[in-house]
């Protein structure tokens, strides 16, 4: 979702929770996706082994990222791919625009690309009078409805068949309401085919960029990615700089982890390997291929050895499907390009703790995301790290907006709490107070939040320490 200054997480959450249809759509969809993943990763030991391989490949790649990127650039150039570097989304957007202008291009067909969402490319191009058209079915649906994606892999996951039928009827001229999936598909395909044929430029993301050969790998199921990268005369590929891998041999393990985690597939319908523009004598393919490599804060993340693990992400979205928070509030509530657990750690690092630090509160630290992450990103540990940095406890933070949540009240509360845990006499006094007054505490502050849906905690008349003393349990 477009990140904006009016981001109000609390309000978004309340809105999402109140929408029963939305909650039911998310529950059904994420249940299905979890089931599919389980059906493909049937052997826990083998799955763990594969995840270790994925983790090792990504970690090793990040450890020598500058070198791999240089190699990728050199090889891409050899292959005839024009390589651009963009430090900010603004730069990346302007590079896309300038390529379009060089070719007098107006209409762009787009394959799925989360980096383009991160750049808010569609809005940027529309403001410049261009026509960017999403071709991934999910993206097509939500673009018709003027919405951002609600999921990394399944952008229209929040819509059911009936809602999609209505979106088509309301937004495509000459189409009347139907909820027949085959008919809806045929309508979309019919429209899109014409666009592929007439587009001036095609854009795609990159799942893996192979440094040793300068090959761009694109994982997809609908064939629209192939159309966008092969039919128009110019192809622009967008990638975050962490997508580079060393060798072709590293791709199969990551591909298997990606497909299995994202959609529960062993392989996808299409796996495109793009190694440059059309060569003399070839019958198809674009005449020009551009690769834009985006930083947008990634090199800063790379510089921190713990936070660097965020960049291992292969964008499978399985942490979303397994997150009890995401499955209840949905992607839009996060007000961010990347929602769910990965968004909770990535967005505050990209946009700053002051702007997106609240995302890190949307986790009960249940560890479900860590349990399934194909490349073993320790998401809960990174959430804790970002919470620590929000409160500036070690005076040593590196994330933008460090210390933004530091406030006297919480600091005093936790300091007081500490003293009650560290000094036994204070602990005894606190226990006595709770025994006497704990059940009569006024329902304000934390107790108010707690008792909104629960009865107040009941403190025992005698603590375990009292009971143990009475029973003569040895005290040392």
């Amino acid at each position: 979702m477009a990140s904006n200054k009016t981001f109000d997480f609390k309000q978004n959450i309340a809105g999402a929770l109140a929408d029963k249809q939305l909650r039911s759509n998310f529950k059904n969809a994420t249940d299905t996706l979890r089931g599919k993943r389980l059906a493909v990763f049937t052997d826990p030991e083998e799955t763990l082994r594969l995840r270790h391989v994925g983790n090792q490949i990504k970690r090793a790649g990040l450890n020598r990222l500058p070198e791999l990127l240089e190699q990728l650039e050199a090889k891409c150039k050899e292959n005839g791919i024009i390589v651009h570097w963009a430090e900010t989304v603004d730069e990346a957007n302007n590079i896309v625009l300038s390529i379009m202008e060089q070719h007098g291009a107006h209409k762009m067909v787009k394959g799925k690309s989360m980096v383009s969402e991160e750049m808010h490319l569609n809005k940027f191009l529309e403001d410049k009078g261009k026509l960017p058209l999403e071709t991934d079915l999910g993206e097509y649906i939500i673009q018709l409805n003027n919405e951002p994606p609600s999921h990394i892999i399944v952008p229209a996951v929040h819509k059911n068949r009936k809602q999609i039928g209505q979106i088509f009827a309301d937004n495509i001229p000459g189409v009347s309401y139907t909820e027949d999936t085959a008919e809806l598909l045929a309508i979309a395909r019919g429209r899109l085919r014409e666009h592929y044929r007439t587009a001036d430029i095609g854009l795609s993301g990159v799942n893996f960029a192979i440094a040793e050969s300068g090959t761009l790998c694109l994982v997809e199921n609908e064939g629209n990615g192939r159309m966008c990268t092969a039919v128009p005369p110019v192809h622009v590929a967008l990638m975050g700089l962490e997508k580079v891998v060393g060798t072709l041999e590293e791709v199969p393990a990551l591909y298997r982890l990606l497909c299995g985690s994202a959609t529960g597939q062993r392989i996808t319908t299409y796996f495109n390997m793009i190694k440059g523009p059309r060569k003399p004598g070839e019958k198809d393919g674009p005449k020009e291929v551009h690769l834009i490599i985006l930083d947008n804060g990634r090199s800063k993340i790379l510089a921190d050895k713990q936070l660097r693990q965020t960049l291992q992400c292969i964008r499978c979205g399985t942490c979303l499907n397994h997150c009890p928070v995401y499955t209840r509030i949905g992607g839009h509530a996060y007000g961010s390009t990347y929602p769910g657990p990965i968004g909770e750690i990535l967005m505050p690092q990209i946009e700053g703790l002051d702007k997106k630090g609240n995302l890190a509160t949307a986790s009960s630290l249940c560890n479900a995301c860590e349990e399934v992450c194909p490349v073993m990103i320790p998401i809960p540990a990174l959430i804790r790290r970002l919470r620590d940095e929000s409160y500036d406890m070690d005076e040593n933070g590196v994330v933008k907006g460090h210390g933004c949540k530091k406030n006297l009240l919480e600091t005093v509360i936790w300091k007081a709490w500490k003293y009650m845990q560290v000094y036994p006499l204070l602990n005894t006094i606190m226990l006595k107070k709770l025994q006497l007054f704990g059940n009569k505490l006024p329902k304000v502050g934390p107790l108010k939040a707690w008792t909104s849906v629960r009865t107040a905690p009941k403190f025992a008349r005698q603590s375990l320490k009292d009971l143990a003393k009475k029973e003569g349990i040895r005290n040392e």
């Binding site: 959450i13 309340a14 929770l17 909650r23 009890p324 928070v325 209840r328 509030i329 509160t361 949307a362 986790s363 009960s364 630290l365 249940c366 479900a368 860590e370 349990e371 804790r384 919470r387 620590d388 929000s390 409160y391 406890m393 070690d394 949540k405 919480e410 936790w414 300091k415 709490w417 500490k418 009650m420 845990q421 560290v422 036994p424 602990n427 226990l431 934390p446 939040a449 707690w450 008792t451 909104s452 849906v453 629960r454 009865t455 107040a456 009941k458 403190f459 025992a460 603590s463 375990l464 320490k465 009292d466 009971l467 143990a468 003393k469 029973e471 349990i473 040895r474 005290n475 040392e476």
Partner: protein, 250 residues
């Protein structure tokens, strides 16, 4: 973890702050189950909280101070330290190492962490506790805390102990793997999401048709039973140690 019952003669007990304040009977039951296996239990009364609330909330230094105090309290001997909570046990066994990873105290802390055991897994795997059920037939369900499941890995041990009780029918809930929405300060910082999660958990428990659930973590219990009481759902929650002790006494 050793698997030789004969060798364990003495253990330390870490009661947890929540048990101490709100569920002391559960804490005492844990002590009695250990004593029943012929083990002497030492309960240092200077102990307090494991530090997890501060650790998870972004107050690392406070968590560390509290953690170090606990390490010191239990360092008189190398006895195993038994914890009637998967969550607190997970904090002490794994996260203390993270807190002290760059400090000279690391190896003292590691010695401490290596001695941490969740109570049901200790009863089952180390003490090989055997229970004869003297209670009336009952149907109930089980809720596992996330950290019991995903950090301590003791969910199966807890269930195995319940299954030893022949008059107890254990009905499993549909989304057993899913968090109940407690998450310590999460329930305070994100009360609406937490409320939605605990509501769904209570619905799942209700759909088992049982009138009792057991758990090994009093944080989850406070959250789930608190919501049940508010919603006037007639289902009782109990700590597994307290339940087992009742059943074997009849």
């Amino acid at each position: 973890m050793g698997n030789n019952p004969a060798k364990v003669k003495t253990v330390y007990y870490f009661g947890t702050c929540l048990v101490d304040m709100a569920y002391p009977k559960a804490g005492m039951a844990g002590i009695k189950l250990l004593q029943r296996e012929g083990v002497e239990v030492i309960f240092p009364r200077e102990q307090a909280c494991c530090g997890q609330p501060a650790y998870n909330s972004g107050f690392r230094q406070e968590a560390k101070d509290v953690a170090w105090k606990q390490v010191q309290i239990f360092s008189g001997n190398d006895y195993p330290i038994i914890v009637p909570s998967g969550s607190c046990a997970g904090m002490m066994k794994y996260h203390y190492l993270e807190l002290f990873k760059d400090d000279p105290e690391y190896y003292d802390v590691k010695r401490f962490c290596d001695r941490i055991h969740e109570i049901t897994s200790f009863l089952r795997n180390v003490l090989d506790a055997q229970y004869t059920d003297k209670g009336a037939p009952i149907k109930l369900t089980w809720h596992s805390s996330c950290h019991a499941r995903r950090e301590m890995g003791c969910t199966e041990d807890s269930k195995a102990l319940i299954r030893q009780l022949k008059n107890v029918e254990l009905v499993e809930i549909a989304r057993e793997h899913e968090c109940c929405g407690f998450g310590g300060t999460f329930s305070i910082k994100q009360p609406e999401i937490s409320a939605a999660m605990v509501h769904d958990k209570v619905e799942d428990i209700k759909s088992t048709g049982t009138h009792k659930f057991l758990t090994g973590d009093c944080g989850c219990m406070m959250n789930i039973t608190g919501h049940m009481e508010k919603e006037k759902v007639a289902i009782e929650g109990q700590h597994i140690a307290e339940f087992i002790l009742e059943r074997i006494h009849g």
